[in-house]
Amino acid sequence: MMTETIKCRERDAQYKFWNDKVNSNGRKDRKSKRVFAKSYLPSTFHYTCILISSAVISGTLIKLFHRKKLIEGLSHKVESLRMELASAELKILSAKLNPHFIFNALNSINQFVCKNEKQLASDFINRFALIMRKTLINSEKGKILLEDDLDLLRLYLDLESVRMENKFNYIIEIEPSIEANNTLVPPGIMQPIVENSIWHGLVPMAKDGLIKIYIKKENGKLIYCIEDNGVGRFKPTEKETKSRESRGINITKERIKLLNQLEEINGEFKISDLAEGVSVTAELPYEKAF
């Protein structure tokens, strides 16, 4: 009814806004033109070899034709990039809503209920609900403020910490030159990385775990460094024969690639092994809100 119509209007406006934002990015034109010119030249050469006289005429015609095609091709390329980005964003949403996080949380709640720990169960459910709510709200936006992203990350880390009976601690440090309330980031990039560290690095470990998150900026790039002191990638326990890279990590990698492609930035996603544990570096375009 009323609610529905206004919702639709909001959605349309958002779509329009997103659409405009992408189309206004004109920098990609030059790059694609180069690529196209390269593939075009040999074919002209080929034509000249076969029919010398008609080559000049046909060549000119093809050139004009290709130029038109090039423009069409460009808008197609932007369009398809945008589509890919949107679908990856959708995937991260489903990745967060379905796998181990939800079921492990439900399992913990079940455990509290079975042990008749009413207060703990209720507290856990409320934290879990808050995380789900914020995750959904953030995922609806393409970019959010770094402070909001960190806020959710802390809630997630605190909940995992409760579940692991405080087996690990975490530190989040931000370079002083970065204003968390004026820096735009894609939502939830760090969450699957941290989840991976906890589940595959820290849980199988006997001693206390530590996750260190450092956020810095370098050459127009925002860099997330996430380190754990867990068991690392090369010493999997018997149960952990599979690679440490989860579906969530793969989706995050894909998102970073697409984001950097759209902003024409040479950012990368790196996983390296430390003497103890694993270090993950994710590089994103550095973008200020104002």
Partner: protein, 249 residues
């Protein structure tokens, strides 16, 4: 505590409310429940409750439908919703209290304390009128409840020229030249108003797009508003602003 009505279409949610009520220190004298809009309307007329817990989702109707069917709204109201962002926005615009499902016992207690507070009951009728007005009118006729030091004020959106950040406070400049200082930061208003024809042009400024007089080009440029004040535009916001302005005129 007086007469309380719980309206929710799901029985187990009503049980959950009764459970929360039994756990808190307030005494409830008389509790009635309703599972549909019709039942809620009937019981409201019959029992004249002092407090209503109203779920937004009621079968194929809403808590708003219930509210618009009641002429004499002299009860305190606490909305409940699971995840309805549109409804939450509507509550924020009218400063009406709401609880989110699953209901956190702490939030529940806070809402009841608020109910006991006479000061907040003073504006109740206005709040409900603003809510219903906003639901049936388009953006230009909407109102917003602002809590300032003087109390709660209800402002017409189309009479707000601009908003300016001041730490955790926001100054709201009205068409007639008055200024209201709200005890919320600009980020709060940005989230509320960005789809109501307002645009945040700068870290410290948000403007009403309908009340822009002129834009002067520059690095970011600046705007002259309806009240002849000028507002700087951040470089990163220039493009977006021009797009909105060109759509408008």
């Amino acid at each position: 505590m007086d007469t309380t009505l719980i309206v929710d279409d799901e029985k187990h949610c009503i049980y959950n409310m009764l459970d929360l009520i039994s756990q808190c220190s307030f005494e409830f004298d008389f509790i009635i429940t309703a599972q549909s809009v019709e039942e809620a309307v009937y019981k409201t007329k019959e029992f004249k409750p002092d407090l209503i817990f109203l779920d937004i989702h009621l079968g194929n109707q809403t808590g708003f439908d219930f509210l618009s069917k009641i002429k004499k709204r002299d009860f305190e109201l606490i909305f409940i919703t699971a995840y309805d962002q549109y409804a939450i926005k509507a509550f924020k615009f009218s400063a009406l209290d709401y609880l989110l499902k699953p209901i956190n016992p702490e939030d529940f207690k806070r809402a009841l304390r608020e109910y006991k507070n006479k000061e907040s009951r003073k504006y109740l009728k206005n709040k409900m009128n603003v809510l219903l007005n906003n639901l049936k009118n388009d953006i230009s006729k909407r109102k917003i409840a602002i809590s300032s030091q003087e109390g709660l004020e209800f402002l017409d959106l189309n009479k707000i020229v601009r908003l300016e950040a001041d730490g955790n406070y926001t100054h709201i400049f009205m068409k007639k030249g008055t200024k209201i200082t709200a005890s919320k930061n600009l980020k709060f208003f940005e989230e509320m108003l960005s789809d109501s024809n307002f645009f945040r042009v700068h870290h410290s400024h948000m403007i009403n797009l309908a009340l822009v007089k002129k834009y002067y080009r520059g690095k970011g440029g600046y705007l002259v508003m309806d009240d002849d004040t000028s507002v700087n535009v951040s470089i990163r916001k220039k493009e977006g602003l021009l797009k909105y302005l060109s759509e408008q005129y």
